[in-house]
């Protein structure tokens, strides 16, 4: 019987032929924790009687969720992470290095065919480069750090066939928002998603990361794509590891197959307070916004900043709003400076903050006020997500955010581009 990408990767990591529904204990190629989850994992590690890591070169901690520390309590937890990292000789990415889900693939820690867990729900991001990666909690992370293994139920798979290419001004963010709106916040719970077809292969890797990143917003365990020459080119120079690409068999069994025609897709917006509350942009067009945010593990990459800079070049943002930009990593930040992108954004009126997660997760760097409307490129718009439960968060693409900061209200990027 044919296998899905998930079934193949799990088979390779547990040493037997397994299929959806099987329970396995599988070997891990890389594990990661961030400053919201690693401190608790350190506690669990110690309580479990952990002494050494299974392989320090395969364990990374990233200080990104409140970085640099805005509070004494946070500082103490960061210190705990730094001391543990030093003692156990694991990889530590400290403040300013970037968001974990940008760093792990960007720094070459994961390659196609790998099985990876991270104590962060958006760990599914690396599926874009053919890695089975999934989010776990702190105690699972601790068990993984000790043993280099974890137990899994091999998931069923929903396949999304993406035909045709996106129209100008429409992006991969619009596609994944539409998909989540269609299948709902728990439409893929316990399952893996595979994204395939011409629509995906035509996309740049950075656009693919956006889609895989948001697989968890429909409950999925992973958001997987196949290996191609673009993945190969993206990996070259980043990693010493050897890719082991995995493709689904033609006769693999799927829970469901859904087809999307990308040519028909229009810009989409997720409205408060759930990610699956999706509207075509035109239904919320002209809604005044008080804050905009460009960044995060969803849309803080070089291409995202570049798209925004193109729209904002030589222009000024509306005086009625604040525009916060957080590049996804130090490397993204540097390259955006080299290309004049940061200059363009700052001249237009953006406030650039340290690469990290702060505004998205409500720890610092842009907490909105009561009743304010925020338009963000992030992946979650839950009530209180940005640190104030009386604010209203809308999610959209970088192009939509850039077009909207010019007018001060939700604006279709196609109206600016044309």
């Amino acid at each position: 019987m044919g296998k899905t990408i998930s079934e193949k990767i799990f088979s390779q990591h547990c040493g037997e032929d397994v299929y959806a529904g099987d329970l396995v204990i599988a070997r891990l190629d890389f594990v990661m924790g961030q400053d919201g989850t690693a401190p608790l994992a350190i506690n669990s590690f110690n309580e479990m009687g952990g002494k050494t890591l299974f392989d320090p070169s395969k364990v990374a901690f990233v200080i990104d969720h409140s970085a640099p520390s805005p509070l004494e309590g946070v500082s103490a937890l960061h210190k705990l992470m730094r001391e543990f990292s030093h003692e156990k000789k694991l990889l530590l990415y400290d403040i300013g290095d970037g968001v974990c889900h940008q760093l792990v693939p960007e720094q070459g820690h994961v390659v196609p065919g790998d099985l990876v867990v991270g104590a962060d729900s958006h760990t599914c991001t690396y599926g874009a480069i053919n890695v089975f990666s999934t989010g776990v909690g702190s105690t699972d992370l601790a068990a993984a750090m000790i043993s280099g293994k974890l137990w899994f139920k091999v998931p069923e798979t929903i396949q999304f066939r993406c035909e045709g290419t996106l129209q100008p001004g429409v992006s991969s963010k619009d596609l994944i928002l539409r998909i989540i709106g269609d299948i709902s916040a728990d439409g893929a719970t316990y399952m893996a998603a595979e994204f395939t077809g011409e629509g995906i292969t035509r996309m740049e890797i950075e656009e693919r990361f956006t889609i895989a990143n948001m697989a968890i917003e429909m409950g999925a365990k992973a958001g997987l794509m196949e290996y191609d020459e673009k993945v190969e080119a993206w990996l070259s120079g980043r990693t010493q590891k050897t890719p082991r690409p995995v493709a689904a068999d033609p006769d693999a069994r799927y829970h469901e197959i859904k087809t999307y025609d990308l040519r028909q897709l229009e810009p989409q917006v997720a409205c408060p307070h759930t990610v699956d509350n999706i509207s075509p942009l035109q239904e919320v067009e002209n809604l005044p916004i008080q804050q905009a945010f460009l960044g995060t593990c969803t849309n803080g990459r070089l291409l995202d900043l570049e798209v925004a800079a193109k729209i904002l070049s030589g222009k000024k943002i509306s005086r009625d709003l604040r525009f916060i930009v957080a590049p996804a990593s130090r490397d993204v930040y540097l390259e955006a400076m080299n290309r004049g992108i940061i200059q363009t954004l700052v001249e237009a009126g953006a406030a650039v903050v340290t690469p990290g997660c702060g505004p998205c997760v409500g720890t610092h760097n842009g907490v909105p006020s009561d009743g304010e409307v925020v338009l963000s490129t992030a992946n979650r718009n839950f009530k209180g997500r940005m640190g104030n439960s009386k604010a209203f968060i809308y999610l959209a693409s970088p192009a939509t955010v850039a077009a909207s900061v010019l007018t001060g209200k939700i604006t279709d990027p196609r109206s600016i581009l044309s």
Partner: protein
């Protein structure tokens, strides 16, 4: 073990940000402090209202969103005895078992606020005393039963130093 308590009813898609907001969870590892803010954005007085043993009852996709283990831990430290939902998000479900918070998948549509509930974890039975109604429960996977039996994943590792499900 027989759990007894009053139902506090919530809707569908209760995410981990609602269970414990990001603005608190990054500050401390003191779970008793985090417990004071559990469900705060949905019900500001929730922590004051619940008594030891009370239960959270919800619809589908309970615990969706982030991977924060502080979510089940904050619930546990608020002295909530268990969570009943028609379905759970995957990471929250694992985290609950790993940290020893009983999570029960069952049809919650007939449970109303303040109903008196009894949950027999051994037999896998939920009994709504107020409505004299027994509710069937979806059984846990074997691996999870073994972890729960050890008291959580920490205790499982203390005992075996590794995964051991034989």
């Amino acid at each position: 073990m027989l759990l007894k308590g009053k139902a506090f009813v919530f809707g569908n898609d209760i995410n981990t940000d609602y269970i414990i907001s990001g603005k608190y969870k990054f500050k401390t590892l003191d779970m008793n402090e985090l417990a004071r803010h559990v469900m705060e954005d949905l019900d500001p007085n929730f922590y004051e209202k619940v008594k030891e043993g009370d239960m959270i009852v919800a619809g589908s996709n309970f615990g969706c969103g982030s991977s924060r283990e502080q979510a089940p831990l904050a619930i546990k430290h608020a002295k909530i005895s268990c969570v009943l939902a028609s379905s759970f998000a995957r990471i929250f479900y694992r985290n609950s078992i790993n940290t020893g918070l009983p999570v029960i998948e069952c049809d919650t549509s007939q449970i109303e606020a303040e109903d008196e509930l009894e949950v027999d974890l051994q037999k896998g039975i939920v009994f709504n005393k107020t409505k004299s109604m027994e509710i069937p429960v979806t059984p846990l996977p074997d691996v999870m039963i073994k972890i729960l039996r050890d008291g959580g994943l920490i205790q499982h590792f203390q005992k075996f130093g590794d995964f051991n499900f034989d």
